[in-house]
């Protein structure tokens, strides 16, 4: 797909990165994104987390020039507006609610998207990677939501694009489908693929991303490397009062809840704290990465 000029142009800019500078998106009077500055270096897997309406999907769509925006957005050094086809040639995209022409079969959909990327149609191997080989001849309109999402994952792999934009990649998927996505994301790290995924929560995905960006009300509220978040991770220990003697200094007693003693214990001294509790019944609550992120940017 890419000619010599395109390759040279990419060399001049940062290679295979996602870059947003001062991106603001407004629909009428509603401002969805407010001056977003974000760079995802080549090979990094970043997760955008945030509540519903935070602007995650709009951010994804901005990178595909599907949303009207001010500021600049580029993929692999290509401006998504002035050089859209070249930018999108680098991207495999899975939208929040994927859909394809309902009259075509799963195999025909893959063949269509292969041809749109200048590749010869050969749908079966890709359908096998997502476990849809038995549904190859089924019209899309007869597939379940999870199967359509698997089909979208197959389409996102066409042409082995260096960048993946995945909007809620595990929603609608069964356990096997979720495992498939996690395996792909893990492999993406080894392959040096750049990934930007959007999700409500990182449950299960924390282990396969390198960086977390918290989006709230259209603004980046916090961002951190996952390794830094794990380094400062703590757990909440709920047990019976009173506070024990010999609790590590780093542990903190939190306000009691329902008569229970609540302790906040850094990961590093958890074993010491449990020993100090001398066999008391206890329950451990692990915070989500988002909670750690909200506590402070590193």
């Amino acid at each position: 797909m890419e000619d010599g000029d395109a390759a040279a142009q990419r060399e001049e800019g940062a290679t295979d990165v996602i870059r947003l500078a001062g991106v603001t998106v407004r629909y009428g009077r509603r401002t969805i994104l407010r001056g977003i500055d974000l760079e995802i270096p080549a090979g990094q897997r970043a997760a955008i987390v945030g509540p519903n309406g935070a602007g995650k999907t709009t951010l994804m769509r901005t990178l595909l020039a599907l949303a009207p925006f001010s500021g600049t957005a580029a993929i692999g050094g290509f401006d998504v507006r002035s050089d859209g086809p070249r930018a999108r040639a680098l991207v495999g995209y899975v939208p929040q609610t994927p859909s394809f022409p309902g009259a075509l079969t799963a195999a025909e959909v893959v063949a269509l998207f292969q041809e749109l990327r200048g590749l010869p149609p050969d749908p079966l191997p890709l359908l096998q990677t997502v476990g849809l080989e038995d549904a190859a001849d089924s019209p899309v309109r007869t597939l379940s939501g999870g199967m359509v999402r698997r089909l979208a994952l197959a389409v996102a792999r066409i042409g082995n694009p260096p960048v993946w934009l995945l909007d809620e990649p595990t929603s609608q998927l069964d356990a096997a489908g979720e495992r498939l996505v996690l395996d792909w994301l893990e492999a993406a790290g080894r392959e040096g693929r750049t990934v930007l995924l959007a999700t409500h929560h990182l449950d299960g995905l924390g282990a396969v991303v390198d960086r977390v960006v918290l989006l709230e009300e259209g603004r980046i509220a916090a961002a951190a490397e996952v390794s830094a978040l794990y380094a400062r991770r703590w757990v909440e220990v709920v047990t019976v009062p009173p506070p024990p003697a010999g609790l590590p200094a780093a542990a903190r007693v939190l306000p009691a809840s329902n008569g229970r003693l609540r302790l906040r214990v850094p990961d590093a001294v958890l074993a010491e704290a449990v020993r100090a509790l001398e066999g008391r019944p206890l329950r451990i609550h692990e915070p989500r990465l988002e909670e750690l992120l909200r506590e402070g940017d590193t």
Partner: protein
């Protein structure tokens, strides 16, 4: 250009699997054949030959069906994919919006032309078998004009579809446009001309504003070879432009409708925001 070809090929396949389109196309084919058979079986009326009766029937059928098929097929196509989200998947690919619009138009146009040609083809075979091939050129002219009318209607359908948020709204607008083009426009022009005693030039301009009127006038002119059946407006126009000149002008109106609506739709599609 390859992108346009790829999209057109897959869209033709998808349109030909669309139940509504296939039903409407089959109805057109069946009615065309039935009308041709009935016209041939009935006794001569007012000195009209079998060929005249068949073509008159086909002209009226085309005036109803070509805009209906073109408008509804075009209107539902982009808006339907926008509604389901399939359009976003296509727009995330390395292509320009103009290419996507062109590919989809070409894809639906090919299916539409196939439907029209099957309908006219069966009538043509019947006509050739029963009446002979002497007036085949006039019949082929009618087919060409019908195809251009269908393409003009398809362009209008795509214009309505370009920014419509969903299929039902686009189809609603298409049916309204069909009513206006086929019924209100002709009657309105006739009524206005009679009521206000409009001069012939104004009547001509008003008549040529609708692709359906332009088709009707061009088809009658070409098939009958005279402007007499077009009334005072047609006579005036033929006197000023000559029969050939009038035919050329009416063909130009049809082509302008097809291309103008297509480019207006494309411009609209390029500006629309996918929410």
């Amino acid at each position: 250009m390859n992108t346009v070809r790829v999209l057109a090929r897959w869209d033709t396949r998808a349109v030909l699997r669309d139940r509504w389109f296939v039903s409407a196309a089959a109805a057109f084919g069946a009615l065309t054949l039935a009308a041709a058979a009935l016209a041939l079986a009935s006794p001569p009326i007012a000195g009209l030959s079998s060929f005249d009766r068949i073509t008159a029937t086909l002209i009226h059928l085309t005036m109803l069906f070509a805009p209906l098929l073109g408008l509804t097929a075009g209107a539902g196509w982009i808006a339907g994919e926008r509604e389901t989200g399939a359009l976003v998947m296509l727009l995330s690919q390395p292509l320009q919006r103009a290419e996507l619009f062109a590919g989809k138009y070409l894809g639906v146009a090919r299916a539409l032309l196939a439907a029209m040609l099957v309908g006219f083809g069966t009538a043509g075979v019947l006509l050739a078998a029963r009446v002979g091939t002497d007036r085949l050129p006039a019949f082929l002219w009618l087919v060409v004009l019908a195809v251009v009318l269908a393409l003009a209607s398809l362009s209008l359908g795509f214009l309505l579809s370009a920014a419509a948020p969903n299929r039902s709204r686009a189809l609603g607008a298409a049916l309204l446009a069909w009513l206006i083009l086929v019924i209100v426009s002709d009657l309105g022009i006739l009524g206005t001309a009679l009521l206000l005693r409009l001069p012939a030039p104004v009547g001509l301009v008003l008549a040529a504003r609708s692709p359906v009127s332009a088709f009707r006038m061009a088809a009658i002119l070409r098939v009958s070879g005279t402007a007499e059946l077009l009334g005072p407006v047609g006579l005036y126009a033929a006197e000023r432009l000559g029969t050939t000149g009038l035919l050329a002008a009416l063909c130009a109106v049809l082509v302008l409708w097809a291309t103008g609506a297509y480019y207006a739709g494309r411009m609209r599609f390029e500006r629309v925001v996918e929410t």
